[in-house]
């Protein structure tokens, strides 16, 4: 069930709106064997199922507060036809208090039924890694926590019936949501830590990528990597759900707040690296040109939600730099009114420099020699540190995030 009619029409034809390897096969198989129904009508859906898995966006507003409009909306729509014995399962990432303070009150009010005695509510937060969702389905363990032990057990058993991964039952819906946010904030904070080290190590002349490689030889270190910022639907939004829940009990999670700030400032730091590198060859941003490689928020996917690349592009535009873009996942389509080049060569042509903003697999083997041959003092800003400076052609002016500026010799 989705409220978007085009999405549903396409799904009926076996065409998914997300680009996940393996998904189309599953979709087509389900349609062929008549195992799936696609609907746009919530009333029809609620009347015809015993259990609902709710997967709605939980983004943030422009002023960085949780946007609960999607979940309020779904609770209102479901509540209308909710009947005894039904189970509402939340897959979306919400705060540890959202189920009890927003979802259940709406469901109870609209349905005139009582949670636990009449219907069940449970959290089973998704742990999807976009681009690998199908591949990970049987390997990434799940966590399930309901408002009631029996509901938890029942929902966990449903998940166990479809995944080979371990399904852990936890003591409450709030605990399940706390687990989801804790693990994502763990990532956000550790990326922020590496970003913070990067800015310092650039100034100390140390290569952060080498530092992380060295630290990762220790048994209790897990590598996270610096970059142009953190994007996508989860990491830049999740921390604000905890920050909001904390503010309601008069608590400011300073560390989480600062980590978010560190990551949010990275696009500006990347602009600074562009300025440094262009300045090194005697160019101002105004009047010079740059080719952006990659706009997606992460490698090998076509998704630009909260992508740091968009912020970097804005910052460079503000300084009146001429921008060209190449991203194989968007070839030919405009991003911020810039038509994305169809080939790498056409996009780099005539540019004073190149900036890598997404580490798509297609970028790893670029032959920079031919570009250096055509353009003296070509600049390469490697915001994802995907290249080994020692293997780059002589004469290229190179800088990475956490890697000091140098002319390749």
């Amino acid at each position: 069930m989705d409220i978007n009619k085009t999405t549903i029409e396409n799904l009926k034809k076996g065409e998914s709106f997300v680009d996940e390897p393996g998904l189309d096969e599953i979709l087509k198989g389900s349609i062929e064997h008549n195992k799936i129904e696609f609907v746009t009508d919530t009333d029809y859906l609620v009347k015809n199922v015993d259990m609902m898995l709710v997967c709605v966006p939980t983004p943030i507003t422009k002023d960085m507060a949780p946007d609960y409009s999607y979940i309020s909306d779904v609770a209102n729509k479901v509540g209308k036809n909710l009947r005894k014995g039904q189970i509402f399962v939340m897959e979306s990432s919400v705060s540890p208090t959202t189920i009890e303070t927003i979802i259940i009150p709406i469901l109870e009010k609209v349905s005139n039924l009582k949670c636990n005695s009449d219907f069940g509510v449970c959290s089973a937060p998704e742990r999807a890694d976009p681009g690998k969702i199908v591949q990970n389905f049987d390997t990434v363990n799940r966590v399930v926590g309901g408002m009631d032990k029996d509901v938890t057990k029942l929902v966990a058993d449903v998940y166990r019936a479809v995944t080979k991964a371990t399904v852990m039952e936890v003591s409450s819906a709030g605990t399940a949501n706390a687990i989801k946010l804790t693990e994502n904030i763990f990532r956000d904070v550790n990326i922020a830590l590496m970003n913070e080290f990067s800015v310092l190590y650039e100034r100390l002349g140390i290569d952060t990528k080498e530092v992380i490689k060295g630290a990762a030889t220790k048994y209790n270190f897990i590598a996270h990597y610096p970059g142009p910022g953190v994007g996508g639907p989860c990491l830049p939004a999740n921390p604000y759900y905890i920050i909001d829940a904390a503010s309601k009990v008069n608590y400011i999670p300073f560390l989480i707040r600062v980590a978010r700030e560190v990551n949010d400032r990275m696009p500006l730091h990347v602009r600074d690296l562009v300025i440094q590198a262009y300045n090194h060859v005697g160019l101002a941003l105004k009047g010079s040109s740059i080719c952006v490689l990659g706009v997606s928020y992460k490698a090998n996917v076509r998704d630009i939600q909260i992508s740091p690349a968009l912020k970097v592009i804005d910052f460079l535009k503000e300084m009146n730099q001429t921008i060209k873009i190449f991203d194989p996942y968007y070839a030919g389509e405009p991003i911020k009114d810039i038509v994305v080049g169809k080939t790498l060569e056409e996009s780099v042509e005539g540019c004073d420099g190149i900036i890598v903003l997404t580490d798509h697999k297609e970028f790893y083997d670029i032959d920079f020699q031919k570009f250096v041959d055509k353009k003296k003092n070509l600049v390469l800003i490697d915001s994802r540190n995907i290249y080994e400076p020692a293997k780059l052609p002589k004469g290229l002016v190179y800088v990475g995030v956490g890697r000091p500026l140098k002319t390749i010799e």
Copy 2:
């Protein structure tokens, strides 16, 4: 070589001043086979070796600045007799800039020789986990970075000759030191993150230990645990070495700074938990009594350096609570003028509550039933979350760090 004569005299007798399982056997074997010499005279040492491994303390001063006095001292003493071809290897944790800004200038000035052309300097930061140093010697990989590639290779080969672990050569001494600080600060920041979550989850009625257990079922999460603060010779000091090095290039690593602050505030939070729990049973701290279990900074070692337990004891003393202490590693010896009880029973006797500050293995199997039988409303503050509340006796008032207060039912 050590400047402490008693240490050296005891070592000659085969008695080590540190309590590391397996170390005494190695020491005695070396003495027996005449493979080791113990000296107190630096001049004699420097005149008679080709390579020195320097392991001096790198603590912080009372105002939280790096205390470089030990390394300056050793550089001055070594410099006096330094000769061509010798190699100075730093095992202590220093900042990425310390070798070049402090050690080499002193060595060069005092010896009138030049680094690289005359003598070698290299960093090979220790990665010791106290209590497991011998056990880990062949399994924890090492990182070696010198001021010169040949020195790096030579020193790495010396380490390879004695350890089965992998020895990685990195591009500079500063990089090796950056790796050491990065991995320790990674731990400090992640413990701080779990401490920050703990204080929030207590207020939200969520058990942080369950949250961490749940999050650890995800493939890219690595568990760190909340507690009464972070102690020992490394984690509370290392971040200030980076903060100091950063301040010299006009950079404030806010995230690292805030993480340190979060951890440093935990002893005060633990005092707050004591106040909450005692208040719950109608007691003020003044006039009531508590038994502290554990004073070491970590489990199963006899080391109270910067132990958070000492701070908690100070805070409780300030509020005029009567304190008894039990720590099997200190039985009978005074800590902060309090004689440590010889047995658990004698120490708990007459106390209104018990607070666990170190997770020594001896504390896991304590039978609380007998204490609850003797004392109504007995309070247990479990700052290391080593107990399962469900398995504790009825009537005990329990609170942990990140675990809401409850009376066991």
